[in-house]
């Protein structure tokens, strides 16, 4: 934040902080500490995907051929668009344009929901193609290639964990939008939008790593 905030926009100091600046700093540092743990969680999954590719190249490429590359690509565009609307919400909050900020937050939630709908369709198509090896009652399409199960199962773990983060993010965003639409919000809690924005951009960042590691490099 390089520019001074306009009148009526700011943060109400909580009593356990010496100053508003310290309070903002602590909130940003706190969310970063949490995001780092999330980064390590997803990094371990992506690392296992790379190892699976190194150890079982043919089986991984065969399994990756069944992934819906274009849905993954469109979903990446959707999340990049949602990052733009989130950045716009942050900037509107700094400008004191509350209604525009609320609309940008709703647009972000809608784009997040669109991502989940497309992901759900992708899972449905996988189900139709018998690409769910963890379903004991349903034959697996690549049963002749046991090693492919490793990659496919990992794909479901990584993408469903990401989807869970996105779903939680949408729920929190909608709750915060409801609060943010109330008069006086920007005078007391402007930094909530900035702190939440970090989480949303991070979800975007994780998918930007997941798409090439799972869909692109294994083609």
């Amino acid at each position: 934040m390089s520019e001074a905030l306009p009148e009526g926009v700011g943060v109400a100091r909580a009593e356990h902080f010496d100053s508003v600046a310290q309070q903002r700093y602590a909130a940003t540092l706190g969310i970063w500490a949490w995001l780092i743990t999330e980064l390590l969680l997803f990094a371990a999954l992506f690392l296992v995907a790379l190892i699976t590719r190194i150890e079982h190249p043919e089986a991984t490429v065969e399994a990756a051929r069944h992934l819906k590359f274009w849905i993954g690509a469109v979903n990446t565009v959707v999340l990049i668009c949602s990052s733009l609307t989130m950045s716009m919400a942050i900037e509107f909050s700094r400008m004191g344009w509350q209604r525009a900020m609320v609309r940008a937050m709703l647009a972000t939630a809608a784009l997040g929901a669109l991502f989940l709908v497309l992901k759900g369709y992708e899972y449905y198509a996988d189900y139709q193609e018998h690409m769910m090896p963890f379903l004991s009652g349903r034959p697996y399409e690549l049963a002749q290639s046991p090693a492919s199960r490793l990659f496919v199962n990992l794909y479901y773990v990584a993408t469903s964990l990401h989807a869970l983060h996105l779903f939680t993010g949408i729920a929190i965003l909608l709750g915060m939008t409801w609060k943010a639409a109330k008069p006086g919000f920007l005078g007391r809690h402007q930094n909530w939008i900035e702190v939440y924005g970090l989480y949303w951009h991070f979800i975007d960042l994780v998918w930007i790593l997941a798409f090439p590691i799972l869909y692109v490099v294994n083609r």
Binding site: W32, L40, L47, I54, S83, M88, R99, Y215, V216
Partner: protein
């Protein structure tokens, strides 16, 4: 509560342009880089395409971190936290792949 859609003054338009420039440019850069990766993924023009794809992804991640997540303008301790996260990931990936790639 101000509505930015209707009846913007020239001052407001200038303010809007100033605030939106960075997010819009980042958005366009990310889309362009994604287009490069998708094109590489579809065509696979040479044997080590994956290395170029991962390089493009690294630029995308750096853009999100430095510009969208504003690490560039954060205080030193926040910068340290964000760098440390990726440093630990580098140790995790580096040490594990050293083993697998050297077998």
């Amino acid at each position: 509560m101000r509505n930015p859609i209707h009846a913007l003054s020239s001052e407001d338009r200038a303010l809007l342009r100033r605030h939106m420039r960075k997010p819009v440019l980042t958005f366009l850069a990310l889309l362009a880089l994604l287009a490069v990766n998708v094109a590489l993924g579809v065509t696979v023009p040479f044997a080590y395409t994956w290395a170029l794809e991962m390089a493009v992804v690294s630029v995308m991640v750096a853009l999100i971190l430095l510009v969208s997540m504003e690490v560039r303008t954060e205080p030193p301790l926040v910068k340290l936290f964000s760098v440390l996260g990726f440093f630990w990931v580098a140790i995790l990936v580096g040490m594990t792949l050293t083993d697998y790639l050297a077998r």
